[in-house]
Amino acid sequence: MDEALLRRLTPEVIGVLVRRGADFAAGEDAVQDALVEALRVWPDDPPRDPKGWLVTVAWRRFLDATRSETARRRREDVLEAEPAPGPAASADDTLQLYFLCAHPALTPSSAVALTLRAVGGLTTRQIAEAYLVPEATMAQRISRAKRTVSGVRLDQPGDVATVLRVLYLVFNEGYSGDVDLAAEAVRLTRQLATVIDHPEVSGLLALMLLHSARRPSRTAPDGSLVPLAEQDRSRWDTRLIAEGVEVLQAALARDRLGEFQAQAAIAALHADAPTAEETDWVQIVEWYDELLRLSDNPVVRLNRTVAVGQADGPRAGLAALAEVDPALPRHTAAAAYLHEQDGDPVTAARLYAEAARKASSAAERDHLTRQAARLNARER
């Protein structure tokens, strides 16, 4: 069965229900019920008109829920009659859903969950599995998120930057489960690009495509991390790179630079290098400088030091590193790398071991431990 179709239709169907007069929270619940029902029924009995099927089932669920709610409150049942179909849902409805689900009043984890469910058409169970939490926890997170945005009117313009931050999180913090969250983030960003014309949406899409292109070579068969310089570049997806570069160039041509475009430009320069040695580090440093002008972000400062180390030598990199807050995650790892480049394997090994203790992921910890082990083995 076509799960992709189901996911694409979800925001449209929510739009139809809201236009018929359902409030967002109840309408979204009804669509989620319809979605779960579709996953159960469609494999054996595919509908002729999938969207019509979803709207009918979701609307029925909505009426049932509203009726029992109304009965409970001993109020008149005013929703008996079938409604007028209402105007068809439009691209604007989908855009409004993106804004609502990424509303600044929501915590990042709530915004991510709500976006994946209402815009992404994932079930609560799929989202829970992807983020390794019990389904009941995720259900609660989503219903709290919906209460938080219950007073927000759906016709007000939102801030596209908040939406982009949520999609970036989905892409960057992919865990496990049967849903590929990074691929899902790409799909949602592509869809966003069809309903709003904004160079930073293109910038984020390009960034995602360029990093997706490298994904197959980022991990070895045993699950260990492969650093950029050691990746098998013949395994990079040239189709994704070409698309990412094209999307980025069109965005840059509009002369409204933003952080995602600048990050994508750095990714594009890496993608463009046939070997690690041929990387245009000078231009990469220039893009880091551009990024710092856009927002003085300490993580950007840290990443810049590694690029400076490549462009102007490890001493220059270490000098730049001295200006960066040592409490930053990965500061020690960057220092280890630069000291190794500078021909000081003893200091580098000690720092790699220290960086391993500070690592925030098991894969990163194991990688840094291997780096320390590699240098120590050479010294013996």
Partner: protein, 134 residues
């Protein structure tokens, strides 16, 4: 019956083949990690694996400091503190089986490819009271 297998960064008695991981060869590090992964996967196929997580050695002690005051934190941990590295929860039929599995996990290869003989802490979960008590 559920048991918690606890692995320590420090605080457990010293294992037999006990050397810091960064003094192993990179391949020995990989082999060790592979052994742990394979062990968890195998327990999943026998229906005995429940959960497992690795912990960062970073962190702090935290306690309540009275109404209207922020919690007090005490960290980083002193070198003398017992430090848990990770856990695995298993659901097995007996204490003997739990011990057998902990023994296998402790045989993970380390320096020179030899088992590390690390001490693991095995702790039974407190259960729900039984329905029939007499």
């Amino acid at each position: 019956m559920k048991y918690l297998l606890l692995k320590h960064y420090r605080g457990a008695p010293k294992g037999v083949n006990d050397h810091p991981m960064d003094t192993w060869s990179p391949q020995e590090v990989s082999d060790h990690i592979q052994y742990m992964d394979d062990f968890a996967k195998r327990l999943a196929t026998t229906g005995e694996y429940v959960d497992g997580q690795a912990l960062s050695p970073e962190g702090a002690f935290v306690r309540y400091d009275g109404e209207g005051r922020p919690p007090v934190t005490d960290g980083p941990f002193p070198e003398t503190k017992d430090l848990i590295a990770g856990w695995m929860v298993i659901d097995v039929d007996s204490w003997e089986r739990a011990v057998e599995l902990a023994g296998e996990l402790s045989a993970a290869p380390g320096k020179d490819g030899k088992p590390i003989h690390e001490w693991l802490e095995v702790r039974p979960f407190l259960t729900e009271p039984p329905t029939i008590t007499e």
